[in-house]
């Protein structure tokens, strides 16, 4: 979502400040979006690779997270999954579907608060 800019000489309104607050502390019912990408070399089947996703928002307790694989469909990898959903982010991970291969996937996420 594009944010308003404040120009010199104009009054700074509450809405100008709150657009930033709402990014850093997403209100109940709001969403936070971003991207993730996972890749690694596998020396055994079902090897797990994961990363911690840090959204801009803090403080607010999330309800759910949705992930897709629109950046890269899983290659030699199983469908990605998530856990440890909290106010500071979540963990996204996948596992390899074979050994001695490079496996990867990536996509966008939407956290709902």
């Amino acid at each position: 979502m594009a944010l308003n800019t404040v120009t010199t000489g104009n009054t700074v309104l509450a809405s100008d400040i709150n657009q930033l607050v709402n990014q850093l502390q997403t209100p109940s019912g709001g969403t936070s979006t971003g991207s993730y990408y996972l890749d690694s070399w596998s020396n055994a089947a079902n090897l797990e690779v994961g990363t911690w996703v840090n959204p801009l928002s803090r403080v607010s307790v999330p309800v759910s997270v949705s992930i897709d694989t629109s950046i890269s469909s899983p290659v030699s990898a199983n469908a990605p999954s998530t856990n440890l959903l909290s106010a500071t982010g979540f963990h996204v991970y996948t596992t390899s579907s074979g050994s001695a291969i490079k496996f990867y996937c990536g996509g966008n996420y939407t956290i709902q608060y």
């Binding site: 109940s28 019912g29 969403t31 979006t33 403080v59 307790v61 999330p62 309800v63 759910s64 997270v65 949705s66 992930i67 897709d68 694989t69 469908a79 990605p80 999954s81 998530t82 856990n83 440890l84 959903l85 909290s86 106010a87 966008n108 939407t110 709902q112």
Partner: protein, 182 residues
């Protein structure tokens, strides 16, 4: 996000992918709980995978509890937002069927409360869970010391008659030296 849980255990949910927002109806048999989240079936339209948070801590739930005030600003009671209530309800249903190995952080309202004639007349079944879960969190933190029936009366001015023992949640309660079971 879950919109509604039906009596037969099925539920209506919305894909939160901003470009999709498709509404689905799924059953308990199509979901599973792993590592602190409930995985919903992939969206049939955008193929996104949605995961509901269920590994709530009491501290997290305390943060999201909303205070119910009257027009004079007097605190009448507390409520947990429905979006979190439905996650907890779904978790409890999975746990009851043996599909979840970890128990929800809060106990469900007792059956005697859910089957109470007054409660059965409430327009939204999530409401009594919302009040009970919020009460349980506040009770655990010792912010409330009276039974749920009194908290319900303070909020609605409707009398509920429940046996004394079940009018408080069976969870560990904070003490100054850790926790104790009541």
């Amino acid at each position: 996000m879950i919109h509604e849980i039906y009596n037969d255990g099925s539920f209506r949910w919305e894909c939160v992918n901003e470009e999709c927002r498709e509404i689905h109806v799924s059953t308990l048999s199509t979901i599973k709980q792993t590592r602190g989240v409930i995985a919903l079936p992939p969206c049939e339209i955008c193929e996104s995978a949605t995961f509901l948070k269920v590994d709530y801590s009491l501290k997290e739930l305390f943060k999201v509890i909303e205070t119910v005030m009257d027009t004079t600003g007097t605190i009448r009671g507390y409520a947990l937002p429905f979006r979190h209530v439905r996650n907890l309800r779904l978790h409890a249903m999975l746990y009851a069927t043996g599909e979840s190995s970890t128990a929800p952080v809060l106990p469900n309202p007792p059956d005697l409360l859910l089957e109470h004639p007054v409660v059965r007349q409430l327009p939204n079944p999530d409401l009594i869970y919302s009040l009970w879960f919020a009460y349980a969190v506040m009770w655990q933190r010792k912010a409330i010391s009276h039974p749920f029936t009194e908290a319900f009366y303070d909020l609605t001015h409707i009398s509920l008659v429940l046996p004394e023992g079940i009018a408080v949640p069976q969870i560990e309660r904070e003490t100054t030296h850790g926790t104790s079971i009541h």
